[in-house]
Each structure stands twice: as structure tokens, then as C-alpha cells.
Amino acid sequence: MSRQANRGTESKKMNSELFTLTYGALVTQLCKDYENDEDVNKQLDKMGYNIGVRLIEDFLARSNVGRCHDFRETADVIAKVAFKMYLGITPSVTNWSPAGDEFSLILENNPLVDFVELPDNHSGLIYSNLLCGVLRGALEMVQMAIDVKFVQDTLKGDNVTEIRLKFIKRIEENLPAGEE
């Protein structure tokens, strides 16, 4: 018992510069490995997805967040709990679609891009595209299929960074035969 309690309180915070720089090294490497930006974006999204499907477990175990009842609640949890926990920022949730199936996350400062300047010849690169994959992968593990993309990016001269999330459908649970 005491060991478990101990594990919970252990600080999980670390130097964010290490994360930022490591991510930068990855993007740099991908730009060398692939000929066009489109492929780099795809690869970043794929890697993000792989991270997301694992990160959700860590998140659920540590945050005590239960099942969300609607997409609005999901949006709140993502912005106020998850982003806070993993990146130390709290994006604002805005631009709800009338149907309530689409919203935007506005990031005032994106820790992934701390020391970054995009060279002119990479105009198609979505530098932080990993985040889209992470969100998609994590939500897929809690039965939500969503579409995620960047619609504004400070790296490209926009005033803010905006990630658009669109709810597509609920993934039906396929329980293995013989289980309730």
C-alpha cells in the first residue's frame, strides 16, 4: 500500500527544454529523411498516434477522470487537465460549431516550438503535427473517432496556434465473445 502511495506522489515533472529540443531533433531528422513536407507531416502524425494510444493509459491512471458524457466535457478535460499535465499549458476552448461536434483549441504559447524558426523552403511543414496524432490516438482509445488538424500556427505568422477537433463518431465497443 505505502509503496503505491509513494509512486503516486513522485514528481513526474521534468525539464521541458529536453523535450522541446528532442522534438526539434526529430523533426530535423525527418526533414532530412523525407523529400517533401507532406511525408514529414504524415510521419509526425503517425508517431503522435502511437504516443497517444499509450499516453491515454498514463493519463487515465493519474488523473482520475472518468468517462466523458459529451464532447464539451471532453474538450474541457483535454484543455484543462491533459494539456496542463503534459505540456504545462492550458489552451482555451472556442469556436464551437452549432451542432457541438467541432471546436478549437487556442494555444497562446506552444512549448514544442520554443526555439524554432521555419526556413522558407519548408512552407508545407506542420511543425507540431505530432500533437494531432496524439489527440487522435488518445481519443480513439476511449471510443471516440475524431479528426484533428492545425488551422493556424504562430510559426507561419498567425497570431495564435489553433487546433481544430471534429467529432466523427462513437466507436462501438467490440467485446470479446463470452464477456459482458
Binding site: K13, N15, E17, L18, M47, I51, R54, G88
Partner: protein, 163 residues
Amino acid sequence: MNRQEMADEALFQLLHTEIVSYVYKSAEQGEMESGRCVTKLENMGFRVGQGLIERFTKDTARFKDELDVMKFICKDFWTSVFKKQIDNLRTNHQGIYVLQDNKFRLLTQMSAGKQYLEHAPKYLAFTCGIVRGALSNLGIKSIVTVEVTAMPACKFQVMIQKM
């Protein structure tokens, strides 16, 4: 709030794992020989090490000598990056240093013993690069290798290259 301390460890560890698997996957597809994977990871780490040391040393006094630099790497640098100090530093006073970490952060989740030992080098190459990059920006050219006999302990060997 201090921005520096705000990232979460789980995120870094997962990112690191993805990077390792990406590099090895591209090797499987025949895009390069697998021997070059370690070099590739090491080079990525090198850039990160260079960047980190620049930021960590901007307020520290000038180092007295090589040993002073190594002590800084073992204490302050290791604590900032891996949240603990190096457990043991040894040197032959002729340019070889052995840094031993008994509970290396990137290995603790993986195994406590000999299981998966053959995969350990993949997960250490990046860190070797970080150390080499950090030293390089302090004016010390080196070769950094690593040895693991049982996880999660490992020994980094730093060979200083005389210029």
C-alpha cells in the same frame, strides 16, 4: 510558474521510444544498414546536448579544468536532464572517464535484470549523443560509448580526444 520544469516525463519517454522505433524501422525497410541506426540516434542526441548545455551553463562560472566539467555533467547536468546524479565517476586521469548510473531513467520502465538486455543499446545511443554534444559545446571533443550488464544500471565511457 517556472516554464523549465513543466513538461511531463511520460511524454518525453514515449517520444524517445517512438524515435528509436522510427529509426530502426527505416533500417528494416532497407533504407540503411542497421549499424547506422546507433549513429543516427547518437547524432540526434548530439544536437540536443549542444542546445541543453548552452542553456544550462549560461549563468555558471567558467570551469577550471576537464575534471571540473565532468563533475558538472555528473551533478547539475544529469540532475536537470534525468533528475538524479551520476552514482559513480571514475577516471584514469588520462582522458578516460566512466560515469555509472545505477538506475538510469530511460531503462527503469523496461527491465530490472537481464531481460531485453540485447535491446538496451538502442535506448542509450541518444543519451551518448547528448553527453558528447554537451561536452563538445564546452570545448571538449570526445567519444562516448555505453555498457550495460544488467538493467537499469549502465556505464557511460567518455574518451577525451586530444585536439
